[in-house]
Symmetry: D2
Subunit: 207 residues, 4 copies
C-alpha cells in the first residue's frame, strides 16, 4: 500500500487519469460517436474505476487528460469538451483538466471552474493552427532528443513553437507531454529534464 | 443530482454494489477462472466505477453482494471469498458484505473485520446443506407470492427453511433477497413487505 | 440440422446477414470511425462467423444488409459503402446487397457487380431526400398496421412514398423492411402480407 | 489475394485455426466455464470468422488446435473435448484436430471420425503423466535451441521424452509445437528444422 505513495513522493510525480473511448481494437484512437450524456457517464465510470486503485494505495488523482481520439475531438468539438468537463466536475471539482492551448476543452474547463493545464508536445510536430500533425503523417513524430530539448526550451522560454512547415506560432503551455510509448521516451525525458534544469527552469508535478 | 438521494430517503432504501465476473455473454453466471489478485482487482474496479455515479448523486454505497457465479463460488471457495473481502476492505472498510449464512464469504468478511449481512432467499428453493438449488433445476424458483411470504416469515420468525426435499434446516439470516428479474418480483416484494409488517417485523435498509 | 432448412423451405424465407459496428453498449447505433480496410475486415469477420452457423444447418446466406449506424452512414458515405461492397464480394460475390434506393451503398454494389435489393421501410417515416427520419424524431415510427399497409401498397403499386411533411416522392424498391423489434411487428407483417396478396402482388424471399 | 496462397506454397506451410475462450484480458489462458452447446457454438463462430479471411485469400484451413486454457481442459475433460470435436465436424469434417497424445481431445476426434495430429512440445517441460508443466512453474520453459533440438529428435526417433524430474516416458506424436511468442522462437525453429533434415527426417505441413 505504501509503495505507490512512496514512489510518488520520492520522484515528485503526480497521478492523473487518461480516459478514452471504449475501443480496445483501436486503442482509443477511433471516435465512437455517442451522445453527450453517454460520453459524460463513460468518463465518470473510468475516473471512478481508476480512483479506486489510486485511493487504495493511499494516493490521490491530481489531473485528467483525455486519450487519443477523444483528446483530438475535444480540442474543437464543444459538446464533447463540455461533457468531459462536466464529468470531471461531477467526480472531483479539484482536479486539473489537461488540454491543448485555446482548445474547446480548455474553454470548457474554465466554464466549469476547473483548474486547467495547457499542454505542449515536445515529440510531435505542429500545424499552423496550433494542433498536432496526425501521427501517421510524414515528419509528425520527433524522435531526436536534441530536437525535443530545443522544442521544450523554446516552449518554456519563448512560448512559441516552430511548425512543420517552418512557421513560428505562439503557444502558451503549462505542462509538457512526452509519449511514453516512443522507443526512446526515457532518453528524451532525461535529456529534456536536464536541459530545463540547466536553464534554471523549475520542473514540478501537476497540481 | 438530488433525485437519487431524495429517492433513497423517501423510500428508505440503501444502495449496494453487485460485482460479478466480466462475462457479458453469460450475464456473469459463468465462472471465469482467474488468480486471486486479478479477482481482487476486478472487484475493486467495479466498486470504484459504481461509486463514482453514486457519489456524484450525493449518495453513498452501503453494501456489496457478489453476483451470479461469483456469489456461488465465494460461498465455498476460500481464496475467492478472501479476494472479495480484501477488495471491499481496500475500497471502503465500512461497507457491509452480503453472503450466504455460514459461507466462506461470510467467514472471510469476519476475518477482515467487515460488517456482515447473512442473506436468505425467499424466491429460491434450498438444498439440505443450506445452499440454493441451481436455477435450472426443477422446482428451484418460487413464483408464488403466498409461498414466498411463508418462507420469509419462517426465516425471520423461526430462522429455519424447508428444503426442496422436505427437510427443515436452521438458517440465520439478516437480510432477504428477491430477484428483481422475476416477472412478478414487485408483487412478491409487496406481499412479503406487508406480511412482515403485519407480523410486527421492522423492515429496514441495509447499514 | 434439418430444422433450419425445413423452416426456411416451409415458410419461403431467405437468410441474410446483418453486420454492424462492434458496439454492444450502443446496439450498433453509434458510428465507430475506422479506416476502410478495418471496416472491410470487420464485415468479412461477421459474414464468416454467421455463415458457419447457417452452413452447419444445411442452409445458405442469400443477402447482406448493414445494421444501424453502418447502414445509415453507407447510404451517403462512398468509402464506407465501397468497403462493405468489397467485403461482400470477397466473401461471396453471389450475395445480394440491400440498401436505400439511390444510396452510395447501392451504387457501390453495382460497381462491384453485386446483385442489389433496394429497400423500402413501411414502419418508418421518410424525409424529402428519400432517407429515413431519425428514430428519435417525433412521428418517425409508424405503429399502425393500417398505415403500414397503405405505405406498402403505395411503394409497390406506385413506387412513391408520402414524406412526413406531406410531399410525394418517387421511391423504387425491391424489398420491404419491417423492424422486428417493434411491439406489433408480427401484426404489421401479417396485415401487409395479406394486403399485398389481396392486391395480387407476389411476395417472395430474397435471392 | 494471391499473397497468402503464394506464401503458403513457397514455404510449404498449412494454415490452421487456434480457437480459444473469449477472454481478452487473460489471453485465453483462463477457463470460462460454459455449457457444452455454448462452447461448441463459440468454436464454430471462430472457425467461420477465420475461414472467411483464409478463403478470401484463395487458401484453405487445414487443421484446428484449441488455444490456452481450452487446450489444457480438453486434454482431460471429455464433454469439453467432445464439444470441440463436434464443432469442427459441423464446420468441416475434413479438418485435422490437433491435441495431446492420449488426451480426451484426441479420443473425441477419433469418435467423430476426424483426422488427428498428436502434438509434441519441444519448448516445454513434461510431467510424468505426459501433460505439460504449467508455464509458471520453474523449469517449465525450454529456451535453449540445443535442448529443443534434442527433445525434437528424441520425440521423432524414439517417441519418448525426458520429463522434468528425469523419467523417460513414451510419447507418440505426429506434429511438433514451437511457441511463436518465445523471444528466440525463430532461432529454435531453424535449429530444429535443420537438425531434423540432417537426420533425414521429412518435415511437412499439416494435412
Amino acid at each position: 500500500m505504501q509503495r505507490t505513495v512512496a514512489f510518488a513522493k520520492a520522484h515528485g510525480v503526480a497521478i492523473g487519469a487518461h480516459p478514452g473511448y471504449h475501443d480496445r481494437e483501436g486503442f482509443g484512437r477511433r471516435i465512437v460517436r455517442m451522445g453527450d450524456a453517454e460520453l459524460e457517464n463513460m468518463i465518470l465510470y473510468q475516473l471512478g474505476a481508476l480512483a479506486a486503485f489510486v485511493h487504495s494505495q493511499g494516493a490521490t488523482l491530481k489531473h485528467v487528460k483525455p486519450h487519443g481520439a477523444l483528446y483530438t475531438l475535444a480540442a474543437h468539438d464543444v459538446p464533447t469538451a463540455k461533457a468531459i468537463a462536466r464529468a470531471v466536475t461531477r467526480f472531483d471539482s479539484h482536479l486539473t483538466l489537461v488540454g491543448l492551448p485555446q482548445s474547446a476543452l480548455v474553454n470548457a474547463a474554465h466554464e466549469f471552474g476547473l483548474r486547467v493545464a495547457r499542454e505542449g508536445f515536445i515529440d510531435r510536430a505542429y500545424k499552423k493552427d496550433g494542433t498536432l500533425m496526425p501521427r501517421t503523417a510524414s515528419g509528425a513524430l520527433i524522435a531526436s532528443p536534441a530536437r525535443a530539448v530545443q522544442v521544450a526550451i523554446q516552449l518554456v522560454r519563448e512560448q512559441t513553437v516552430r511548425t512543420l512547415d517552418g512557421s513560428l506560432i505562439p503557444l502558451e503551455v503549462d505542462t509538457l507531454c512526452i509519449h511514453s510509448d516512443a522507443p526512446n521516451a526515457v532518453e528524451i525525458a532525461k535529456a529534456v529534464h536536464e536541459a530545463l534544469r540547466a536553464e534554471g527552469v523549475l520542473v514540478r508535478a501537476m497540481g
